[in-house]
C-alpha cells in the first residue's frame, strides 16, 4: 500500500509516500474519554525506498526493500493510506515498484 507519511520533499521521487505492507487494520475505541472516539488504525510494515527513492536507471523504476536497521512496523491512521501499489520481486528482499500501472500513479510518480 501507499502510505503518506511526509511532505513532498521526502523519499525522492516518491514525494512523501512510502510503500508498506498491511499487517492488520483495526479499530480502537477510547472509552476512557468523554468523546469515546473510535480510532481507525492500521499496523503496517514499512518498506524502505532504495537509493533515497530515486529512480533505478537500468530499470527506470523506484525500488524498495525490507528495512534492515530500526523498527519496520508502524501504526498509521487509515486516513494516511492512499491506495494499493504493485511491487515486483527483484533480488533478495527487494521489489521494483510499478509506477506505470495506471495513469494516476504514473502522473504522480515520475
Amino acid at each position: 500500500m501507499w502510505v503518506q507519511t511526509g511532505g513532498e520533499a521526502n523519499y525522492g521521487d516518491l514525494r512523501g509516500r512510502v510503500v508498506a505492507r498491511l499487517l492488520a487494520p483495526f479499530k480502537i475505541r477510547n472509552i476512557l474519554s468523554e468523546a469515546a472516539a473510535v480510532h481507525r488504525l492500521a499496523l503496517v510494515r514499512i518498506l524502505d525506498p532504495i537509493k533515497g527513492g530515486r529512480f533505478h536507471i537500468p530499470s527506470g523504476h523506484v525500488r524498495v526493500g525490507n528495512r534492515i536497521n530500526g523498527r519496520d512496523m508502524r501504526i498509521v491512521s487509515i486516513g494516511a493510506v492512499i491506495g494499493q501499489v504493485q511491487v515486483i520481486p527483484s533480488g533478495e528482499k527487494q521489489w521494483i515498484l510499478n509506477h506505470r500501472i495506471d495513469l494516476r500513479t504514473f502522473n504522480e510518480i515520475y
Binding site: L22, P25, I28, L32, S33, V76, G83, V87, R104
Partner: protein, 210 residues
C-alpha cells in the same frame, strides 16, 4: 454555386437559414449593446458597454461552474456495480471502510496473539503513534495499562476509494487485505466503477516475507 439552388426550398421547408438570419444579431444588439448603454453614464459609452458585457459573461460562466460542482457533490456513480454513493459535502472523497471483523480480537492482547506479534512491540508502536497525534479529548491514553483495557476490533480488509485520474466524481475501490506475517499471499484486488476505459477486475500479487 450549386449550393445556392437549395436555399429557396430549404427556407420554404425549415424557415430562415440560421447563418444568414438577422434574428441572432438583432437579439445580440439588445443584450450586448442596449442593456450596456442603459447602465452606462452615456458619456463615452463604448468601453462601458464592453466591460458590462464582459462582466455579464464572466458571471454567467461562474454560475454554471457552481451549478456543475454542486451536481458532482450530490452523487458518485460507481458504474460497474451500478451503485450510486452520496458524497460527503465540501468535495472530500468517500470514507475508507474497514471490513471483515476478525474473531477473538477484542483487546490489544488478543489482537497481538492473532497476529503473532509481540505485545510490547505493538504497544511501543501505538505509543509512538499517540505521541505524534494532537493532544485533545479524542486522543488515546498514553498509559500502556489504560490502553490495554480499551476495546479493539481487528478487521481483515480495508477499502480505499481512490479518485480516478483527472476525475472528481469517479473512484476506484482498492481493497488491500491484511497479510499474515511470514507468509506470502495473493490478494484479489477488485477495481470498481471507473468508466469504460478502465479494466473491470485485476488481480495483484502481493509478496510477504520469503
Amino acid at each position: 454555386m450549386h449550393y445556392l439552388t437549395h436555399f429557396a426550398s430549404h427556407v420554404r421547408r425549415f424557415g430562415s437559414i440560421l447563418i444568414y438570419s438577422t434574428e441572432i444579431g438583432e437579439l445580440a444588439h439588445k443584450d450586448q449593446i442596449k442593456d450596456g448603454y442603459r447602465r452606462s453614464h452615456k458619456n463615452e459609452a463604448a468601453r462601458q458597454i464592453l466591460s458590462h458585457y464582459g462582466r455579464q459573461h464572466a458571471l454567467g460562466i461562474r454560475l454554471q461552474t457552481i451549478e456543475a460542482l454542486s451536481k458532482v457533490e450530490a452523487v458518485i456513480v460507481v458504474e460497474d456495480s451500478g451503485m450510486e454513493m452520496p458524497t460527503v459535502p465540501s468535495g472530500s472523497r468517500p470514507r475508507r471502510v474497514l471490513k471483515g471483523r476478525m474473531k477473538n480480537t477484542s483487546t490489544l492482547t488478543e489482537l497481538c496473539t492473532a497476529l503473532d506479534i509481540h505485545y510490547s512491540n505493538m504497544m511501543d508502536e501505538i505509543l509512538h503513534f499517540i505521541r505524534q497525534t494532537a493532544a485533545d479529548n479524542r486522543r488515546l491514553p498514553a498509559d500502556p495499562a489504560e490502553l490495554g483495557l480499551l476495546p479493539v476490533e481487528g478487521v481483515a480488509q480495508l477499502e480505499i476509494p481512490v479518485p480516478d485520474f483527472q476525475e472528481t466524481d469517479r473512484f476506484q475501490i482498492h481493497r488491500p487485505a491484511a497479510l499474515e506475517q511470514g507468509h506470502s499471499a495473493t490478494v484479489a484486488l477488485e477495481t470498481i466503477g471507473c468508466g469504460s476505459r478502465l479494466v473491470g477486475k485485476r488481480t495483484m500479487e502481493i509478496y510477504g516475507d520469503a
